[in-house]
Symmetry: C2
């Protein structure tokens, strides 16, 4: 089918939308793919909807190829199942909640683990019914605090979510591996540059969890990749190599020193240099100091409890709050405020020591590098004073280990994969072994081979389908506009009439018709009163992979074939259909 | 592609769901097409989703054929546009309302006139951009007071809604006619038995509005059809032929008579017979009496006002509240209660006369048959008394005309189309000339040819896409189960293995593969431990149009081809693919 720009519901814009920070967001709005309706809520215009549908098609095909069956659950859901799983509360403000006319609590589904589990419980009861993988491509709702970057993080968005049900753990491993391979195929077909990152499995402990992150400076997620490219992980999932324990005996006594104006690590290191203080026989660096951070941690649940907790990290590293929160999950942490220090006068702001917590009944957790026998300069619990030679296991004893320190470029990668590089990415997929968390919560029981009721194990697998439109735009755009891969472009060929001659116009119309008859989606710029220059600019902005210009050369029997973002060439008009279909075929393979 | 029943997410049920009253609802649940998630909220299982997608495809194709362009708006919408159109209030409890984390009011879109109007306002500004027709196939929300009949009236449902924008009224007429024809094509392709009914245009007065009603006893809407089939209308839209005015002069004086125990029309007519009372020289029938009904009418708007109003209808007809409310819209009416009569002692319950209202400052509206000079027996505003020979225009004068009386089987059809028959139907489509109501409310202005700002005229056009799944099921099912038309069936051919012999099983597998290769959607009942009898029953319940049984006859080289709900025949196994594809082709044409 040919779509005519003279008729298409489209208005390209010269100016970037005021609220856009990210390039793909600017271009998708300027090129008329999407339009903002409310914060984080977008309307899909004809071009954007076509890209979205193309992505959905690829996702659907690969899901069906692994035997997943498509269903569709409602977005408007009753409260009870989410109450039963505890997520009605756990989701907090992220959940859109409402009441119906009868006063019943409802929610807009942020993800559907509960509902799929209940559905299987409702339909199936025998091990013979499993394994089972169900999926849907459906609209989801999350009331993000800071919706950003257009469709990259919206409050209404489209996800593919699937769920696997198996009796045995080995079955879950199979379903997980199948999804992993399907996701690789999907993202490869879509032309996305991505990394598969080990992710935190959260409360589930040992079960597998990986995120597919599209590599992009516009991403919100930091991940690390080893220099050999063999290891990638979310910053949250990186496990720090523990420090080497050392004998406590023979280490110098701890000593409190006056350290005027040393409220920063830098000042403290300077002071140590001036005073010739050494640690383990060497000159003090920031890595020899220990930051004692006081946090206010709130534990969820019925007896919602808030308490102060200490966290110890080497002075050369900041606390990474994302890592910290992942480590504490489901608890939530914030920095202690002045009033908290006032209420606990043993915590001297700026001079907190690692020994202040345990003595006073508070918990303190340490970075994995802080092991028995390591020696530090820390606060001395007294204004203007620090303690030198504070030895772990002698002068203070942490209650446990916490992954709270930031990962730094050049940190050692695990298992001999070299060192770590920091990258930014956008989460486009997540595969996750849920285990029996939801099947237990929803009381899903299935008769096993021996006729006993057993609880199946589950996996949950998501792809951000609408987000992918933004991700692909972001990874492919250039300074002229969008630049779609053939697999997702709204139109494969954009025929531009750039010659006022009737014969040329007629020839362009015929070429468009022939290309369409050859099975290509064709966009025809037939706008009568628009100059060639504007048409060319628009064709770059809109970003179809192939642009054919019927222009001046037509008098000599040629048209111009431009590969968006690539080479351009004069081709014979008479052979144009063959030349173009061959080029498209090549690009697709 | 072949789908195997041994693997499909399906569980057929023997028992009807407890909450189901309508046959299609029972069967769609029993056959595993849909499943209830909450009142009026359903999950689409694999079979149901396929039907839904098939219907969407037909709708999309015909919308694109009239040049409509597909976009997709969000379901979660901000309050302001609906405030501007006044529908935030007018929709009342039907609207799902919620607040986001920042306290902003939101709603779940029940229909999108406001949003489409704003979108066009945002994008377009010249008459050259019009005409324009936009459509979406999208999830809508209405908090129905009584969701019923499964997916026939749900609270979350899928609609195709489109909107036309034109500068001139003639353009709107074109868009309307195009939609009318497209809808006919759609419903014909889907095999729906429907009527196009004139509908109330509501506050818009003269503009055109028609409903497409699927004829079904399960329908909630009553409509009338003329005996010649040329006229159909919603009961609300039927205009009563006015009575013939008669000279007042020369009519007998009104006379108050004692009428003991005459609180019903029947008793009053009996009394008149016993007393030899005549009206216009003939024996009194119910049609000569006049019911004076007292209503409490509430007018919406800022100064929400409730007042008593009289409605006069001939005694042989009931008040049809749907017609009455359509006539009063946007006001809402209910019967006056005892306390209202007590508060207005001039209204004597059971004996209200038509003259009681005006005298006491209340409004009274009459049926179109009540014209000047018509003579009636009415209440006499005095317990146990009626007034005979009450002449309209002499003894009482209505303030206006109202269409409140029921339509009866056999009433005269308009314009010589015979008489009217009452039918029940389910609304599946609605085409509606909005005029400038929304473009004015949303201040959509477009530059016309003379360079002046003008307000475009709009049409709004809906199809109940998910409802159609239920409608088609309802119109085609029989006592054995569902019976899908080829155009929407989830699978065209259902191959049933009903022979334990390995060769037969193998042959069935090959036949299924060949049929699939021939382009047909094939469902294969390959369940190893299920008896042929159960498989046959399931095939009838599931309702695929063609069922092929590989059974006993296979030993003789034949298989059985059953047309669901029709003939069955033995066909040669070797020619089966040709025979079946030919039969399918014939059924499609």
């Amino acid at each position: 089918m040919i779509t005519r720009m003279s008729e298409m519901f489209l208005r390209t814009l010269r100016d970037d939308p005021a609220d856009a920070e990210v390039a793909s967001h600017k271009l998708l709005v300027r090129a008329g793919y999407v339009r903002r309706t409310a914060p984080g809520i977008y309307t899909w215009l004809p071009l954007g909807l076509k890209v979205l549908r193309n992505i959905e098609k690829v996702v659907r095909e690969e899901m069906e190829a692994i035997g997943a069956q498509e269903i569709c659950l409602p977005a408007l859901l009753p409260r009870e199942p989410y109450e039963q799983s505890n997520r009605w509360d756990e989701y907090g403000d992220l959940l859109f909640k409402l009441k119906d006319r009868k006063g019943n609590d409802c929610l807009l589904g942020p993800t559907h683990e509960e509902m799929f589990t209940l559905l299987v419980k409702d339909m199936y009861n025998s091990y013979k019914d499993l394994p089972l993988v169900l999926f849907q491509i459906q609209t989801k709702y999350r009331d993000e605090e800071r919706p950003r970057a257009g469709i990259l993080r919206g409050r209404e968005f489209i996800m593919k979510d699937s769920y696997s049900f198996d009796m045995a753990d080995s079955g879950l491993d199979d379903a997980y591996d199948k999804h992993r391979r399907a996701y690789q195929k999907i993202f490869n077909r879509l032309g996305v540059n991505y990394a598969i990152c080990k992710a935190m499995a959260g409360a589930m402990g040992g079960s597998r969890s990986e995120e597919f992150l599209a590599v992009s400076p516009a991403g919100e997620d930091t991940f690390v990749m080893s220099t050999d490219g063999q290891f990638a992980a979310n910053a949250e999932a990186v496990v720090t190599e523990p420090g080497t324990p050392r004998p406590i005996e023979g280490q110098p006594e701890a000593e409190v020193r006056e350290t005027p104006d040393c409220t920063t690590i830098e000042a403290l290191v300077d002071w140590a240099g001036r005073e010739d203080v050494t640690i383990n026989g060497h000159k003090v660096t920031a890595a020899d100091t220990l930051k004692c951070i006081v946090l206010k941690v709130t534990y969820p649940g019925e007896k919602k409890k808030t308490e102060l907790v200490g966290v110890l990290v080497p002075g050369d590293r900041e606390v990474d709050f994302k890592r910290l929160e992942a480590a504490l999950e489901p608890a939530v942490a914030e920095m202690a405020e002045d009033k908290d220090f006032k209420a606990h006068d043993f915590l001297v702001k700026g001079y907190v020591g690692p020994d202040a917590f345990t003595k006073n009944g508070l918990k303190v957790y340490a970075d994995p590098r802080v092991v028995d026998g390591t020696c530090w300069i820390t606060g001395a619990n007294k204004p203007g004073h620090h303690a030198v030679n504070m030895v772990c296991g002698r002068d203070f004893t942490p209650d446990g280990v916490i992954e709270a320190a930031e990962i730094k470029e050049g940190d050692t990668a695990p298992d001999g994969h070299g060192t770590l590089t920091l990258k930014r990415g956008i989460e486009i997929g997540h595969i996750f072994q849920l285990g029996r968390k939801y099947s237990e919560a929803m009381e899903l029981k299935i008769l096993d081979e021996s006729g006993k009721l057993a609880t199946p194990t589950m996996g949950s697998y998501g792809i951000g389908v609408s987000r992918l439109v933004g991700v692909i735009a972001e990874q492919t755009l250039d300074d002229k506009g969008l630049n779609w891969p053939v697999a997702v472009a709204p139109f494969t060929v954009h025929v531009v009439i750039a010659n006022k001659d009737d014969a040329a116009r007629q020839a362009a119309e015929e070429l468009a018709a022939d290309l369409s008859a050859a099975g290509l989606d064709v966009l025809l710029d037939d706008r009568p009163k628009v100059s060639p220059g504007v048409k060319f600019k628009d064709s770059e902005l809109l970003g179809m992979p192939f642009v054919v210009v019927v222009g001046r050369g037509f008098a000599d029997g040629t048209v111009e074939l431009r590969r968006r973002g690539g080479e351009q060439s004069e081709i014979d008009y008479t052979a144009a259909v063959d030349t173009i279909t061959a080029a498209v075929r090549k690009a697709r393979s």
